[in-house]
Amino acid sequence: MTTNTTNSAAARELNDELMVELRGVNKWYGQFHVLKDVNLEVRKGERIVICGPSGSGKSTTIRCINRLEEHQKGDIIVGGTTLNNDLKNIETIRREVGMVFQHFNLFPHLTVLENCCLAPIWVRKIPRKEAEAMAMKYLERVKIQDQALKFPGQLSGGQQQRVAIARSLCMNPQVMLFDEPTSALDPEMIKEVLDVMIELAQEGMTMICVTHEMGFAKTVADRVIFMDKGQIIEENDPHNFFNHPQSERTQLFLSQILQH
């Protein structure tokens, strides 16, 4: 496997502007300490891949960023807005943060086009005609424009996930969160979703991806973060992360997933 260095952070001039900032974030489920002092700074245009074994808190971390989960200690700052219990505040942040889920979570009662237009019309207050035109533009970008009038139930998993990406993009988010976007897909469909994600990365979208696709991490990530037991164990640029992992836990993890 080759590392595409032209895309990595070293070659690109990254903006200094912080997009997402996690400072000493802690979270408990009852007595169980799921996130332990997580610190993360994501700059504008940066592509982060978070990996780690299941139950390591990687999904929980990104779900805290748009308040699908509530953190109990520490600060989360998204685009300059500090996340707190104020609903207005949460909605402001959610408008700027797109999310793609493992199980797509498309709205089954709406067509593909309606799925994409719903939030722009009712949250961004964009007139229907404009919203539809914009939705078609994004559906074209994920190469699914000819399915616009179908219902999600009539599409394959890969197609549904591409619609889900288009739906998030329709809100013109500043940051995109990907929560294991290819884990529920058949092997043949993973590539079509990854291609869309790679294209998105090349266009300069700020992305935080929880994924097991190490190939994707090597190709597009500026930084790879390894989490275990609710903590960030190691973070590095992809080349050094995969070739010279520092921590034993990381070495063990990599040897296990890269064996085949």
């Binding site: 889920f101 498309l106 709205f107 939030a119 009712w122």
Partner: protein, 371 residues
């Protein structure tokens, strides 16, 4: 060493499915006469149907009397529909003054026209018609039925009766119980403790008492407790009682539907920035209501039939007015015809609701899976 390599070079063509036993004869052979026991059972069932249906059909249709003006017209020994025919207007309109009956007809005609407009696909302005049905029509219907302005004579509600009263009670009940039920169900699932406990107490209270009690309380007890001048109309009191009672039932049906919506739907809606009400209105409720159609219609049908309980507080709905007719000395002894007629009218409405709900379920079916 054996060779494990197998390669297919030419693809198999698509073949038609195997011919099954199709047609009427094939169906009968498969379902009715597959072996000796089944054949015997089929013949026995046919015999049972024969001995049950022939006298019924002959009583209802063949040996029955349809025209005439008094019981003397009933000579053929079958059903005497003359009784129903003679009192038909009363069964429909109660004691509503004859000269004003056009007002009831006009009201229901308007309603049917609007509902048909909404039910038939491909007609424009559905949103506007729906708004008119829900917001303008009730006021219009009130002035048409009750009168008191626009030069219309006041018709007191104790003169209302028959099928029109049944329909007024049922429609008001159905239209009001659904939104209240949805609000109560949302409240019961709310994280706000005061809202939640209010809804739980409300639902559990109203579900725990019989409708008859509610109606008695509304008509007999309430006037004892409130001052004379605050005493409002008996029909209105019954309506409020029915709506409060049925909203509690509706709330539980709706809650069942809400629980079936996967968490991912809420999360996707939230992640897109939809607030609570937008998430509910555009994402959760449309899916939940689709799942709830059988339960909702079940409640509607029960509500429709429960309206006949108002007879115990002296309101003459369809059942009560037919019963009153049976006690007329001129028409003694026609109770079977009377009750059969009532049953038939109720059945037509309930069956219609049931069929329409099945149609809706098919229409809202949008492919497979709920993710």
């Amino acid at each position: 060493m054996s060779n494990l390599s197998k390669v297919r070079h030419d693809m198999l063509p698509n073949l038609p499915p195997p011919a099954s036993s199709v047609g009427v004869i094939g169906w009968m052979r498969a379902n009715l006469f597959s072996n000796i026991t089944n054949s015997v059972l089929t013949l026995f069932a046919l015999y049972l149907l024969y001995i049950l249906l022939t006298p019924t059909i002959s009583w209802v249709f063949i040996n029955s009397d349809w025209t005439g003006s008094s019981r003397d017209a009933c000579t053929s020994g079958g059903a005497c529909w003359v009784f129903v025919a003679n009192r038909f207007d009363q069964f429909m309109y109660g004691f509503y003054p004859e000269a004003e009956i056009w007002r009831i007809n006009l009201t229901f005609l308007l309603l049917v026209a609007q509902v048909l407009w909404l039910m038939l696909p491909n007609l424009p302005y559905k949103g506007m018609v729906a708004a008119v049905v829900l917001l303008v029509f009730p006021i219009l219907a009130y002035f048409l039925l009750y009168g008191g302005s626009f030069g219309l004579e006041v018709v007191e509600t104790h003169k209302w009766g028959g099928l029109s009263l049944t329909l007024v009670l049922a429609i008001v009940g159905i239209v009001a119980a659904l939104p209240f039920g949805v609000l109560l169900a949302l409240g019961r699932r709310s994280e706000m403790p005061i809202v939640k406990s209010f809804c739980v107490v409300y639902i559990e209270f109203w579900r725990g008492i019989p409708l008859i009690t509610v109606l008695f309380m509304a008509s007999v007890m309430l006037p004892l407790f409130v001052p004379e001048e605050m005493n409002f109309d008996k029909l209105l009191r019954a309506m409020i009682g029915i709506v409060m009672f049925q909203s509690a039932y509706m709330a539980e049906v709706v809650r069942g539907g809400l629980q079936a919506i996967p968490k991912g739907q809420y999360e996707a809606a939230q992640a897109l920035g939809l607030n609570y009400w937008k998430m509910m209105v555009f994402v959760v409720l449309p899916q939940a209501l689709k799942l709830m159609i059988p339960g909702i219609v079940n409640t509607f049908i029960a509500l429709f039939k429960d309206t006949s309980l108002v007879l115990i507080i002296g309101l003459f709905d369809l059942l009560a007015i037919v019963q009153a007719g049976l006690t007329d000395p001129k028409w003694l002894g026609f109770s079977v015809e009377g009750y059969a007629f009532v049953a038939f009218v109720f059945w037509v409405f309930c069956f219609g609701m049931s069929k329409y709900s099945q149609h809706l379920e098919n229409r809202f079916h949008t492919g497979h899976g709920s993710r």
